[in-house]
């Protein structure tokens, strides 16, 4: 009986050729109205105009390993600016002979990040691994121990600085944001008020002004003789700023939780911290993964604003190269390269967040 039925369904008439496959897809999506057809034609025209010209500039007429002078003669892209200045772009003013140190530190950091992606590795040992890794990284960057020459943090720059500012900025801002969100939901009026004021104040000012305050205004309040490292101050500003945004996103997730979840947890006898940690936050944080990652991505890109307080992050080192007369005028190439680095990082983040969402999906 059921067999006869399935045989019969297999014999159903095929749809007409023009409604399936490539032709069908084009008809359904690109030419389904006169307006859409117009858009399709216009887009095709633009693509035809742009793509060949770009390929010609970027690949056919381009120079990859030349001096700046040769570049100025040629008409195409001057990618040579990157290999010729790579070490300065990546490491800034870090002593030339010692640049292997930030390189190793970065590899270590990226390696640790990759290792931490896997949720099976989220154990206590991972925390020790990070502490150890951070110690090694600090040692490599700063030196001064075990015969490593000491390097002032004022000389740090380029990609390591960008990575340090963002990795620490984001990892510190996230828990702080969660705590702020919980504080804002607190039944205790004092805590609630403090959190609300903090969040609203910080969200009311641009990051640039926070960076200015941390680098110019804040030191005025410090007692004489005490200085706080410039990088640390910028880092603090980034953390405080990002945390306020994360707090609001997390609050949204908390509000999405039904009262029943709190009640079920409480009626098992779980206390407030256990309820939050074991029942509410795992669900609420999962709901808000997409907006959280948006914030983290934009915070990552915003670290480039530290140029205004004269820190030599990746963007600033690139700009310095561009002010060298030999390479002046090749900003498109240099910025495309920087854009590529930023893109790879951001893409990795959003990719990972989607993977995490999938892995955490329990079908409810």
């Amino acid at each position: 009986m059921s067999k006869a039925y399935s045989e019969k369904t297999e014999e159903t008439i095929k749809p007409p050729l023009t409604s399936v496959g490539v032709i069908g897809w084009i008809k359904a999506n690109l030419l389904n109205s006169w307006f859409n057809s117009l858009l399709t034609v216009a887009t095709l025209y633009l693509l035809l105009k742009i793509i060949p010209a770009f390929i010609r500039w970027a690949f056919v007429d381009s120079l990859w390993m030349s001096t700046g002078a040769e570049c100025h003669q040629a008409g195409g892209a001057c990618w040579s600016i990157i290999p010729a200045n790579l070490r300065f772009i990546l490491f800034g003013f870090f002593p030339y002979d010692l640049q292997w140190r930030p390189l190793v530190a970065m590899i270590l950091l990226v390696g640790l990040l990759f290792y931490s992606q896997n949720r099976n590795h989220w154990k206590k040992s991972l925390a020790y691994l990070w502490i150890f890794g951070l110690f090694i990284m600090g040692l490599l960057m700063k030196g001064g121990l075990f015969g490593l020459t000491s390097v002032e943090s004022a000389q740090w720059g380029g990609l390591p600085l960008t990575l340090i500012l963002s990795v620490f900025g984001l990892t510190a801002a996230y828990p702080l944001g969660v705590v702020l969100a919980l504080g804002r939901q607190s039944k205790m009026p004092a805590i609630k008020t403090i959190c609300v004021i903090y969040i609203e104040l910080i969200r009311g000012v641009p990051l640039i002004s926070l960076l200015f305050m941390s680098s110019v205004v804040f030191p005025l309040f410090l007692p004489e003789g005490i200085t706080v490292n410039k990088i640390v101050r910028a880092q603090a500003a980034i953390i405080l700023f990002t945390a306020a945004y994360i707090a609001e996103v997390v609050r949204g997730g908390l509000q999405g939780m039904s009262r029943g979840q709190y009640e079920a947890a409480e009626s098992l006898g779980l206390n407030y911290y256990q309820t939050m940690r074991l029942v509410i936050l795992p669900q609420a944080l999962k709901i808000v993964i997409p907006p959280t990652v948006s914030i983290l991505i934009s915070a990552f890109k915003d670290t480039s604003l530290v140029v205004i307080i004269a820190l030599y992050d990746l963007l600033k080192t690139t700009q310095s190269v561009l002010s060298d007369p030999e390479w002046m005028g090749f900003s498109s190439e240099a910025y495309l390269f920087i854009a590529l680095i930023y893109f790879v990082c951001c893409f990795a983040m959003s990719n990972y967040s989607r993977r995490l969402e999938r892995e955490l999906d329990t079908g409810h």
């Binding site: 039904s258 029943g260 979840q261 009640e263 079920a264 947890a265 409480e266 009626s267 098992l268 006898g269 779980l270 206390n271 256990q274 074991l278 029942v279 795992p282 669900q283 999962k286 955490l360 329990t362 079908g363 409810h364």
Partner: protein
């Protein structure tokens, strides 16, 4: 429906009191939800509460484990008075199991993790032991094969049985049920009621808000009828259904029994 009578202990002495509610009142803002509630529940006693929607049934049993706070009178559970002391409240919550209309399982945890959570974190039972207990109770509610699934993958009846097992894992002295079957499709009601009847047979003290009259008749020692925040009538099930005293009870019974 299981109409067989389950043995009900005839005599009980006063040492056996497990819940005592004395002149208890509760307001939501200006709204007087519970008015002068007096109730004594003895060990192994099973009480069914019924009444029209909005009469305060849920609020009453939620007061017993302090999901709602009462404003006047006293509630004493297992010799501990429910007052603001947070330690008291947490202690009582470990002794009182609660089953909700909408199950309220933790959707991000597997079934066995749902069951082991309370024992591990509240009773500080080692994980392995907690999981063994979890499996024991899952078997009791006939659902052990679903242990590794997530709540979202189970039917309503299965979820409610898991919710009951989750409460049992804490070895509670009293179980509260707030309309445990009213969110279920008719064909799933029986599987949940059967589990509750098993529990009754084993002598669990139970307070059940329910309109399942068959269940009340076969399991309850006492049926309470609530209306407008008051306990209007309180009687043994036979008397209660055959011979209701108050007009409001008669009206209500005629409505639910057609």
């Amino acid at each position: 429906m299981n109409e067989e009578q389950i043995e009900k202990p005839a005599t009980v002495d006063d040492d056996d009191i497990i819940i005592e509610i004395i002149n208890m009142h509760k307001w939501f803002g200006d709204f007087h939800v519970l008015k002068d509630i007096n109730l004594i529940v003895r060990k192994q006693e099973r009480i069914v509460i019924c009444g029209p929607s909005g009469s305060g049934k849920s609020t009453l049993i939620r007061c017993i484990n302090r999901l709602e706070e009462h404003q006047r009178g006293r509630i004493i559970v297992d010799n501990i008075e429910l007052i603001d002391n947070i330690k008291n409240i947490e202690k009582i919550r470990t002794e009182v199991g609660m089953v909700f209309q909408h199950f309220n399982l933790f959707p991000h945890l597997t079934i066995v993790e749902n069951l082991a959570l309370g024992p591990i974190w509240v009773r500080k039972v080692p994980k392995k032991e907690a999981e063994e207990t979890a499996m024991y109770f899952l078997e009791k509610v006939h659902i052990a094969e679903q242990a590794q699934k997530y709540p979202g993958q189970l039917s309503g009846g299965q979820q409610q049985r898991v919710a009951i097992a989750r409460s049992l894992c804490m070895h509670p002295k009293v179980m509260l049920f707030d309309e445990p079957t009213s969110a279920l499709d008719p064909e799933m009601i029986k599987e949940v009621l059967d589990v509750m009847i098993d529990l009754a047979r084993e002598g669990m003290t139970m307070i059940v808000v329910s309109h399942e009259m068959g269940f009340a008749k076969s399991v309850a020692h006492k049926v309470l009828f609530m209306d407008y925040g008051q306990i209007v009538e309180e009687n043994a099930p036979e008397e209660f259904f055959e011979n209701p005293q108050h007009e409001r009870t008669k009206l209500f019974l005629s409505q639910i029994l057609h």
